[in-house]
Symmetry: C2
Subunit: 143 residues, 2 copies
Amino acid sequence: MASAHEQFRDLAWKCGLAATHQRQIIYEAVTATPGHHSVEAVFAEVRGRTPSISLATVYKNLRLFVEHGLLREVSPHSSMLLVEGNLEPHHHLICTRCKAVQDLDAADFVNFKKLARRAPRGFDLSRPLVEVFGLCRRCSAKT
Amino acid sequence: MASAHEQFRDLAWKCGLAATHQRQIIYEAVTATPGHHSVEAVFAEVRGRTPSISLATVYKNLRLFVEHGLLREVSPHSSMLLVEGNLEPHHHLICTRCKAVQDLDAADFVNFKKLARRAPRGFDLSRPLVEVFGLCRRCSAKT
DNA sequence: TCTTGGATTATAATAATTCTCGTTTAAGAA
DNA sequence: TTCTTAAACGAGAATTATTATAATCCAAGA
């Protein structure tokens, strides 16, 4: 069984990335525990092991790992405030790359009964908003 | 038939908000055209009618309108970068208020065939990510 | 070992958003 | 209508998250 260290070196090699010590511990900080990790949290954890590490390094490598598919980004949407006046129940289709948003008026692709069963008790889904992420044609063409 | 002006005064009154000129034109800038509006776009439009208006006023009132349900926010998620190491296909349940994220491991509430039919041609849904927004128990209790 | 291009660091810069506070205004009361 | 007052506005400063820059540093192949 390969060590975590060796596993990462292997992954990095497959992506053509140098397997530096910093990347190693950033990757491990995210994958060691399940759930969702903020940059601050990763930075705090990583600094415990390598106090000289820079926040910019954490940012850069998290983005790099996401680009190469080693990590996933939670909610890969535009970081700016967007509003809409359409209050009719409808949903959104968002391009992960260019962040363009399109409306999906028919919600028949979501089974809200099943969804409600999956949600934890007390979670209010009375006015649900569903957003689906993918790559728009233009961005998937570029690759 | 009430004018747009009167309609807004009525809406504002129902929410207990003062119907100021600035609010009027901000609201109209968003609702006059369908689709998704950035703060910059709203500001630019609104400044054409009332050059003295402040960007802070636009921000403040857009947030206010969203809080009161007069407008919807597109992607009401945490504005900070979050990553996860779990690469297994799974989805997210996000609290609109506190931005907490939970995993939804079973995707059986989404009919991907129907979804693909709804999406525009060429939109790449080969690795779909679905995020569902609502209010977690704690936040819906506070109201 | 040596070389070299990519990686890291500290710091500066940027961009989006929010806060502060003095001024103005909406809207109910007189 | 005028008065009163809490709320709203405007200008610019402040804050926060993130990215760019430029000088070292190091991983990895020759």
